[in-house]
């Protein structure tokens, strides 16, 4: 099976509101950045393109098709799309390369969640007969999960505040962060509830923007003569959409994906976890079996800015950046989708 290398990554600033920019205008600067990192012109210079986005977010039907105008798709290109975070577009692209159908691929994700009311929009991805008509929003579902953790004594509110404080502090080094800074646990705990037991600070700040990545075979990376990181393992698992059937205090899908991706087969220096809510970072680090020797979310994670449909890909990009800069030699990235960590992807990245 062909090894897959990441050779380029770029992410936009996490903007509370991306102004008048449409999908093409959000995507293009990130595509230009990754093409430049490798020395390519446009999507003609890769074998495959796959994007991740969700038209419901901005209320624009087939926005992902309009996004093709950012690629240089004349003459026509091989292109695909997932209605998910672009981490899954990366997964599809890896399969394409491993099957021998491509040597290289461009992956990107984008979202304009500010165009709608995200927590309400996401309620319409729930089961259409029993849940969607109740308009149960995404923050309320996460709050149900946090309540179970707190009541069982698996997590304290102070633990959650510590996640927020650490992520905000780490985000000081992230030029794209929407939220960063030193904030004390006491200040966080003094905040009133938003959807109890969640405070506003427990919810990752939703952001507009985009991210892009280029991957390829090791042979292609050497030909391009660019630094690269290897994706040594990747897997994803989904849990039932019936929330009552799931153990919301655990992430079984993350644990299974981590097993097959090979997380435990070496030291995990850095883990970038896509946790849209503070308590979910704790669930995830436990499911991944991370210890005190792993630095979690050095970029600030989604707490620095939750780029809908690109945050998962960005977690992988953040680990990639740290490997090619020589800061670390092995790290883990995680992406999630759906309510209460329903669907999880785990990738292990190593230095070449």
């Amino acid at each position: 099976m062909k090894d897959v290398a990441i050779v380029a990554f770029s992410q936009s600033d996490c903007l509370a509101q991306a102004g008048a920019a449409n999908e093409v205008e959000l995507i293009m600067p990130q595509l230009q950045a990754v093409f430049q990192q490798v020395g390519l012109n446009n999507a003609q210079d890769v074998d495959f393109v796959c994007s991740g986005s969700c038209d419901y977010l901005q209320g624009a039907a087939f926005a992902f098709v309009a996004g093709v105008d950012a690629l240089g798709a004349v003459p026509p290109i091989k292109e695909s799309h997932v209605e998910m975070d672009a981490a899954w577009a990366l997964y599809e692209s890896i399969l394409k390369i491993r099957m021998g159908h491509a040597e290289s691929a461009l992956v990107y994700g984008f979202g304009r969640a500010s165009s709608g009311n995200l927590r309400t929009v996401l309620s319409q991805q729930l089961d259409p007969y029993y849940l969607a008509p109740l308009w149960i929003d995404s923050i309320s579902l996460a709050a149900l999960q946090a309540r179970m953790l707190l009541d069982r004594g698996l997590v304290t509110e102070r633990d959650m505040a510590e996640v927020v404080a650490r992520c905000r502090r780490n985000a000081l080094n992230n030029p794209h962060a929407r939220l960063s800074g030193e904030i004390s646990i006491e200040t966080l705990l003094a905040e009133p509830g938003l959807v109890a037991p969640l405070r506003k600070s427990d919810c990752a700040p939703v952001a507009d923007g985009a991210a892009a990545m280029i991957i390829c075979t090791v042979e292609q990376a050497r030909e391009w003569a660019v630094p690269f990181a290897l994706i040594s393992g990747i897997d994803h698992r989904i849990e039932t959409h019936n929330l009552g059937m799931r153990d919301l205090c655990d992430s079984v899908s993350t644990r299974l994906a981590a097993g097959t991706a090979g997380v435990a087969q070496g030291p995990v220096e850095v883990a970038e976890l896509y946790a849209p809510f503070s308590h979910q970072e704790i669930i995830l680090s436990r499911a991944l079996g991370l210890g005190a020797d792993t630095e979690i979310n050095p970029s600030g994670g989604a707490m620095a800015g939750n780029l809908m449909m690109a945050s998962g890909l960005s977690r992988i990009g953040e680990v990639f950046r740290r490997i090619v800069s020589g800061d670390i030699s092995r790290g883990v990235a995680h992406a999630t989708s759906g309510p209460c960590l329903q669907h999880n992807l785990v990738a292990v990245l190593e230095s070449a």
């Binding site: 449409n22 205008e25 209320g59 105008d69 165009s115 969607a132």
Partner: protein, 171 residues
């Protein structure tokens, strides 16, 4: 069976979602000018193609088209169809003409309506000009132009459609 069970053929779960939609920065610049009766295309810095209405990128090169070009309201028919069936909710009565038009100075066609013409005589290469709504009805929309009508100018040879300068056929 004694118990007649009624089939459930549908449930009503209306969805209302409110959005602050954006056409995009580049389309917004075009729409602001068309409200003033001005047609602005955008030129690709790499392949030099001029797009109208602009979408902010050159789909062929995949790069931003920042350079704005004011274009006249004369165009050439690149293709057309005569529609004989009514379109639901469309006030235009059939038969009417939908055409691919290339404005002078632009390289890529856009779709608009043709009228004030003999439908049987519409042809590729035909010269047309915009018929605008009254100024006080102008808004941020393509239908500030009601339709294009034929004008008395020589046809453009097929291989020159999409290559004219803003001054038209005369070079």
């Amino acid at each position: 069976m004694n118990d007649q069970v009624e089939d459930i053929t549908g449930i009503e779960t209306p969805v209302y979602l409110h959005y602050h939609f954006t056409a995009g920065s580049a389309p917004a610049r075009f729409l602001r000018r068309i409200k003033e009766g001005v047609l602005t295309g955008q030129r690709c810095p790499r392949c030099r193609n001029v797009y109208i209405p602009p979408r902010g990128s050159c789909p062929a090169c995949g790069i931003p088209t920042e350079d704005e070009v004011v274009l006249p309201d004369k165009a050439t028919v690149q293709s057309f169809t005569v529609v004989a069936i009514p379109i639901p909710n469309n006030p235009i009565k059939p038969p009417f003409v939908i055409a691919n038009l290339v404005l002078d100075g632009a390289n890529i066609s856009f779709i608009h309506l043709m009228s004030e013409c003999d439908n049987s005589e519409v042809h590729i290469g035909q010269r047309v000009q915009a018929v605008w709504k009254p100024v006080d009805e102008w808004t941020y929309a393509m239908d500030n132009i009601r339709y294009f009508r034929p004008i008395d100018e020589p046809d453009v040879p097929v291989d020159r459609i999409g290559t004219l300068a803003t001054t038209g056929l005369e070079t």
